[in-house]
């Protein structure tokens, strides 16, 4: 099964040279002078068949699948800053599909299945690492909730195992299962297929593959207006001028309300800061991703050795990518409480992103009242894991102007009908 070095395998479908150990060696011989750009930096054309606003993972994935699956290649991704500079490049990369509601299970597991071959599909090592995601319960109430989740998840055909405190200790030697602590570890459930991936690589991998298929990726270009004619979208006003297109997909996460405003659409979204931080790198101590709702934090150790920590959103609305100090303060105390080994380690970096939260903690994948204008947003604290799935079904929605069965429950009208998909239980500790 070793990669075949024949000519055919040396190129991506669009003609870019492929990455492989062989290309690395070839290039090493030439002192790495011959590597091509991962993507071009073109000036925008006057018009496109479709425009995707937002060069995060979801926007880039949408563009890629539009090109790769639906053969719509005359498209542009328009990004106001740098690719992946939004939440894609700020998140803590937890990937799992063990959601409770059927609608959620469908989309997140669709994503997880795509993740499982994505490195090869994109020919970019995303360092997708299925090292298991363990959610811990600290009270009878949480054990009952856990039981409900695991029953539902299992009947949905998704993997999930309940672990006792001793089994947890075996899996995670550095966790404190002392029953005398304030919120003792009483059990947990594990999705072995869950894990993490390298966030930047996801943006770059999709960008390179989309660019290979002819997609124009335009950075440093902000969309400042959505031009409509009657009930139809005509194109987008940008800092690089007007660009025409009959189809526009908005995939701008924390800023979706701003885009919505441009088309007089009021989205049920609150944008809030979500913070994360890492420790200095240490030798491997933690293989599994751990989440705890009651103690309120989650943690994993990156391939670089940094302990990656996160917790819940700040309670106020804001567009400042910062957040307030009490949140990390509590998250660190929680981490030290459950993992005393952290006490003598040090915080190295801290950052925040703006997450787009819906009242039911589920995303929006939807047509709008404006023909040709689509929104993909509301992923809030946990949309990284959905990146491939979200892009895949959103591309389908844009290409066919109708949602498929996975996307359908996520239409905007659910806030009118009341058919909400309440995943607050899953988003309690943001991930």
């Amino acid at each position: 099964m070793a990669e075949s070095p024949d000519r055919g395998a040396r190129r991506l479908p669009g003609g870019k040279p492929k990455y492989s150990v062989f290309s690395l060696m070839r290039n090493a011989r030439r002192y790495h002078q011959d590597w091509q750009q991962a993507w071009r930096s073109p000036e925008p054309k006057k018009s496109y068949d479709a425009i995707i606003i937002g060069g995060g993972g979801h926007g880039l994935a949408t563009a890629y699948y539009l090109a790769a699956v639906h053969r719509i290649t005359n498209i542009a991704v328009i990004e106001k800053g740098w690719l992946g500079g939004g939440n894609t490049g700020r998140n803590t990369t937890i990937i799992r599909s063990n959601y409770m509601w059927d609608e959620s299970a469908a989309i997140y597991d669709h994503a997880l299945k795509l993740w499982e071959g994505l490195t090869q599909d994109l020919n970019f090592n995303l360092m997708f690492s299925q090292r298991g995601v363990l959610t811990i319960a600290h009270s009878w109430h949480e054990l009952r909730e856990m039981s409900r989740r695991v029953h539902a998840i299992r009947l949905n055909g998704i993997d999930s195992d309940i672990l006792t405190p001793d089994q947890i200790k075996k899996l995670v030697p550095i966790i404190n299962i002392d029953q005398s602590i304030r919120y003792p570890v009483m059990g947990g459930f594990l999705q072995r297929r869950g894990g993490t991936a390298r966030h930047d690589a996801v943006a770059w991998g999709y960008a390179r593959a989309a660019d290979d298929l002819g997609v124009d990726i335009i950075q440093n270009c902000e969309v400042t207006g959505l031009r409509r004619k009657g009930n139809r979208i005509e194109g987008v006003e940008t800092t690089k001028g007007f660009i025409k297109s009959p189809k526009v997909g908005c995939v701008v996460a924390g800023h979706c309300s701003v885009l919505g405003d441009m088309a007089d659409i009021r989205l049920p979204i609150a944008s809030r800061p979500l913070q994360a931080l890492v420790s200095e790198p240490i030798k491997p101590e933690l293989d599994t991703v751990i989440m705890s709702n009651a103690v309120h934090m989650y943690i994993s150790q990156s391939d670089k050795g940094e302990m990656v920590l996160g917790a819940g959103v700040d309670k106020y609305n804001s567009y400042a990518q910062r957040g307030s100090f009490p949140v990390p303060e509590h998250m660190i105390a929680a981490a030290v409480e459950l993992f005393p080994i952290l006490s003598r380690l040090r915080m190295l970096r801290h950052w925040g992103g703006i997450v787009d939260t819906c009242p039911d903690a589920s995303p929006i994948l939807s047509k709008t009242d404006v023909k040709g204008l689509y929104f993909n947003c509301g992923w809030g604290t946990g949309g990284f894991k959905a990146t491939p799935g979200s892009g895949h079904v959103f591309a389908d929605l844009i290409a066919n102007d109708r949602p498929n069965s996975i996307a359908a429950p996520y239409a905007l009208d659910r806030f009118q009908t009341g058919l909400l998909i309440d995943e607050h239980g899953a988003a309690g500790v943001a991930h």
Binding site: G85, T119, H138, H141, G418
Partner: protein
């Protein structure tokens, strides 16, 4: 350890330095014992012993030495301490030496000298920036099983302590101050003098062991005609004597947040061999300052050349520190490599202390200043317009390859020649420390004259002074700081005056660096020697160029692709050099390239210090009722309910939980039970609009409730879903008493406050949480009335005088109480509220009076069984934020008359009445003894394939000892229309599915006869 004191190191000068020669100490590094002095850092003590090789780099495992003398050190990271006091990644340049200190090098195997990982360096050609994105992809399964495990093993720097439980303690403290001055160098001291003179409360903090900053490393400067050190000593003394001044040393300001909120980390005892019991290891200060003065000075930048990472290559300023502060010679034969005048001071000092200065290599074509002339006058060879192309040597720098260059382009123009040296002192210019300023969203501007970023506009009430403000000459910096300190005090509301700048004598210098962002090299393009920009992360100049070639043009992309600036030194030394190379590659000026965002922590900060004492028993409040001691004495087991500890059940004579709960339930049904219900949320409502407000909150009417009557209410979120429930009683015309669920109390209060404060400020309603004011005891069961009567109750308890759902003030056992006749068991019940401090007494009276009547204490588990038998819901168990009153079969509680209430509009949406919503039903198992696990899901066909069609889940499930079979409730799709149908519950523990029938939710006493006893 002092018994067999090792000899002091051979590189120690016989006098000078700020070390305490009277107190020699010994320490261990990698198992070997060495000697040093109190006042040394681990780095200076190692250098004194001629030890340069102290670590290995992250990726290539290159041998690394000590580059700096401060907290910007990227290389010299070690593990310090033993057992549960060990910590990794400590910068040897900061660690104060103490007797018995034990340190170990990191990221090497098996030894520092011979490190297998160093093969990475030989293969380095195959590992350029981002190589891992391009490979390890085939075959796919290898990633999980082979490639990634290897990568993970190689990751990380130091090791965390094996013993996980930190032996040390940490603290947090808060402080308001008028002026906070960050940085205790000459500028900080001047600012402090000005600010403190005004009477303002001044805090002066510095990361080092003593105040003085860089001036402690200088030897040829005088202030007021005396050595600068004298002035520092006097000034510190003067400040220490002022009661309005607080000085903190070994304290790093690591965060500058909104509204002049700053965080400091103080290393209280890290420099001591033993932590005195009364002191924490570290302390985090949270400061709110009226005005902030940033006087953090600058960082010296390395020069980029092949082998610039070899042990023996040091920052020129650091070399002066080691000589002047620690009396240590970092080498015997030095080459100075510089692009500015400052490094000439190092050359002269080396000469003073007898180190041979083999050459000064200056990139500038025609440097001319006093210092340069002095160096030449002493006979030093100065190669102007030259560059170092490469440094050779295996574990230490040995030979330098030098050549003449075109000073504009950096192109090599002359024949290279070689000079031997064991020390290279380099200086590539200076970067003002704008980090905190930028964290606080201050703006910076590129100063082309000084080739650095300088603070420009402020966002917070702050001022940068001295070198931190880009003022590099001493006199200028002192004046700038004196004025800044006074301005800060004035801004804080004091009358202040800048102190006079004393006479200063320092050699005049040209600090402006002559920068060449293109690295001079005579190698073929692409084959330049490895020249490091980010030392710890092994990012080379070629890596940055590669990133640009591959289209990673944004400064953030370059950082992320190459990992430049992401090491534990956070890019303090590397960022500007990387920016310079990037701007050169892109052909864009630096200000257009931009910087990455500055964020806290400014230096890595111990988690323990940030957690402080908010862990273990203080992690979260543990709330106990007034009767807690009684429950414990009587053998209760407890459960956590939110923050509360509640008695769960009371086993006697070795009963199992099941036996105890069955007994408690039965006894309550046949005789009487007593429950500590104090944890229920209680909120006092007053004001003339209290009734109106309740009408808007609850789905049913409260304004019409008669005084003295109680009513059960459901509260919805604005999405129409059940949020909380409880009984509310009208105590007076404008006075109500609301109860909430135990877990929901705080949420409900803030929810109501939000509505009152933001939506309906015109309502006259005052809310007070009174949960802790009242102890609540429920007596329930057929004998309940008799027990209260036996105790002597001042009011009649008959059904006529005291009907169900009413309330009265009374005296019980001579104690004033509020009695509510409400029931959560379906039995005759009295809920007795008493001022909290009498709670235990009343409980004891009741127990005594109840004895003849078979009164039994019951816990929360029996309470659950009792209410489940009656089909009473618990919000949070039967509901989960997606359940509306109709789903619960409680349409009767939703008023049709009221014009509005929270959630009304949402309830009118069409999906709210759909037949296939999940609806609450009872579940009776075919096997009466089978108890369905809570959370199990119902299906019609247990043999279908995955994903199964699920109907919904069991919310409550218990064994009813009274009925002799299990009782359960479930939320099932279309459940209300399915009564009598059979469903199956597949198990996840490998057991067979459980078969059951859908029933009504009320299993016991469906007519409700027992409510009157």
């Amino acid at each position: 350890m002092n018994i067999k004191s090792p000899k002091q190191g051979q590189m120690r000068l016989s006098d000078g330095g700020r070390i305490n020669r009277k107190n020699p100490v010994s320490f261990r590094f990698d198992g070997k014992t060495f000697a040093g002095f109190e006042g040394d850092t681990l780095a200076s003590a190692l250098l004194a012993n001629g030890v340069h090789l102290v670590g290995r780099s992250f990726k290539y495992h290159r041998p690394r030495g000590i580059l700096t003398a401060g907290y910007d050190e990227p290389n010299a990271l070690v593990e310090i301490g033993q057992g549960n006091q060990q910590a990794p990644n400590i910068r040897a340049t900061e660690a104060m030496l103490y007797d018995g200190l034990t340190a170990k090098s990191q990221n090497r195997w098996p030894t520092l000298g011979f490190d297998i990982g160093a093969v990475n360096s030989l293969l380095g050609r195959f590992f350029p920036a981002g190589f891992y994105y391009k490979t390890f992809m085939f075959p796919a399964v290898f990633w999980k099983n082979i490639y990634e495990p290897i990568i993970r093993k190689a990751a990380g720097l130091g090791r965390a302590a094996k013993d996980h439980h930190d032996a040390d303690r940490y603290e947090k403290t808060h402080r308001h101050t008028d002026v906070l001055i960050v940085g205790g160098g000459v500028s900080g001291l001047m600012a402090a003098l000005s600010a403190a003179g005004s009477g303002a409360r001044v805090m002066l903090v510095d990361d080092a062991n003593e105040l003085g900053g860089w001036m402690l490393s200088e030897n040829n400067t005088t202030i007021d005609g005396k050595p600068a050190l004298n002035w520092i000593k006097q000034t510190v003394k003067a400040l220490e004597a002022m009661s309005n001044v607080t000085i903190l040393t070994r304290t790093q300001c690591f965060g500058y947040m909104d509204h002049n909120f700053l965080t400091l980390a103080e290393k209280v005892t890290d420099h001591l061999p033993q932590r005195p019991d009364h002191l924490p290891r570290q302390r985090m200060w949270k400061i709110r300052a009226k005005h902030v003065v940033l006087a953090q000075g600058n960082h010296e930048r390395p020069l980029i050349f092949g082998g610039n990472d070899k042990p023996g290559v040091m920052m020129a300023g650091a070399v002066r520190s080691y000589i002047n502060c620690y009396a240590v010679l970092p080498g015997r034969r030095a080459v100075i490599y510089t692009n500015n005048d400052d490094a000439y001071k190092t050359a002269l000092l080396l000469d003073d202390v007898g180190v041979k200065v083999a050459a000064i290599v200056d990139q500038r074509p025609t440097p001319s200043s006093v210092l340069v002339s002095q160096a030449m006058a002493r006979g030093m060879v100065v190669h102007t317009g030259h560059a170092v192309l490469d440094a050779n040597g295996t574990r230490h720098v040995g030979t330098l390859k030098i050549a003449a260059i075109n000073p504009k382009t950096g192109d090599v123009t002359g024949q290279p020649f070689y000079i031997d040296a064991d020390l290279v002192a380099m200086s590539g210019g200076f970067t003002p420390v704008v980090n905190l300023h930028s964290q606080a969203r201050g703006k910076i501007t590129w100063d082309d004259e000084q080739v650095c970023f300088r603070p420009s506009d402020y966002h917070e009430a702050a001022i940068c002074v001295g070198a931190c403000n880009g003022v590099f000459d001493l006199k200028g910096a002192m004046t700038d700081a004196a004025v800044g300190g006074a301005m800060a005090a004035m801004a804080a509301g004091f009358t202040a005056e800048a102190v006079m700048t004393p006479a200063v004598d320092e050699p005049s210098m040209v600090m402006r660096p002559h920068v060449l962002w293109k690295m001079p090299s005579d190698a073929v393009k692409g084959q330049e020697p490895k020249a490091f920009v980010d030392f710890q992360n092994d990012v080379t100049a070629s890596d940055i160029k590669l990133a640009v070639r591959e289209g990673y043009h944004s400064v953030e992309h370059v950082k992320r692709y190459t990992t430049n600036g992401m090491a534990t030194d956070q890019g303090k030394l590397s960022n500007i050099n990387a920016l310079g190379i990037l701007s050169d590659q892109l052909g864009k000026p630096i200000p257009e390239v931009g910087t990455t965002t500055f964020r806290y922590p400014y230096t890595p900060t111990t988690f323990g210090a940030i957690a402080g004492r908010d862990i273990k028993e203080l992690f979260d409040t543990e709330r106990l009722t007034r009767m807690d001691a009684w429950h414990r004495q009587h053998g209760a087991e407890f459960e956590h309910v939110g923050q509360w500890m509640r008695a769960w059940y009371y086993p006697i004579d070795g009963e199992t939980m099941e036996e105890a709960v069955n007994r408690e339930v039965k006894k309550t049904r046949t005789h009487a039970g007593i429950l500590d219900a104090s944890t229920l949320g209680k909120i006092d409502f007053r004001g003339k609009d209290a009734g109106e407000f309740l009408d808007r909150l609850y789905t049913n009417m409260f304004s019409t409730l008669k005084i003295g009557r109680c009513r059960y209410g459901l509260m919805l979120k604005d999405d129409g879903m059940v949020m909380d429930d409880g009984v509310t009683t009208r105590l007076g015309e404008n006075h109500y008493h609301m109860t909430t669920t135990t877990g929901g109390a705080a949420n409900v209060l803030s929810w109501m406050e939000e509505w009152l404060q933001t939506e309906w400020p015109e309502l006259d309603v005052y809310l007070t949480s009174v949960t802790e004011e009242w102890s609540v005891t429920t007596v329930s069961g057929p004998n309940a009335r008799k027990i209260l009567e036996a105790l002597g109750c001042s009011v009649s308890l008959t059904d006529d005088a005291f009907p169900f759902m009413s309330y009265q003030d009374a005296n019980l056992a001579g104690l004033p109480v509020r009695i509510f006749r409400i029931s959560f068991t379906g039995e005759l019940s009295f809920e007795i509220n008493i001022k909290a401090r009498h709670g235990l007494a009343l409980w004891q009276h009741l127990m005594k009076a109840g004895e003849p009547f078979g009164l039994t204490p019951y816990g929360t588990e029996a309470m659950h069984v009792l209410r489940a038998e009656k089909g009473f819901i618990i919000v949070g168990q039967e509901t989960d934020g997606s359940v509306n009153p109709h789903d619960l079969g409680m349409s009767w509680i939703v008023s049709k008359k009221k014009s509005d209430f929270i959630g009304k509009r949402a309830l009118e949406r069409k999906s709210m009445a759909l037949n296939n919503r999940k609806q609450l039903v009872g579940i009776k198992t075919e096997d009466p003894k089978a108890i369905i696990p809570e959370g199990a899901h119902a299906v019609l066909d247990p043999h279908q394939s995955y994903p199964m069609e699920m109907l919904g889940q069991v919310t409550s499930s218990y064994y009813s000892p009274v009925l002799g079979h299990s009782v359960a409730m479930a939320l099932l799709k279309g459940g209300h229309a399915m009564k009598g149908q059979t469903v199956w519950f597949p198990m996840i523990n490998g057991k067979k599915p459980i078969k059951a029938v859908i029933t009504d939710t009320v299993f016991y006493d469906p007519k409700g006869d027992r409510i009157n006893g």
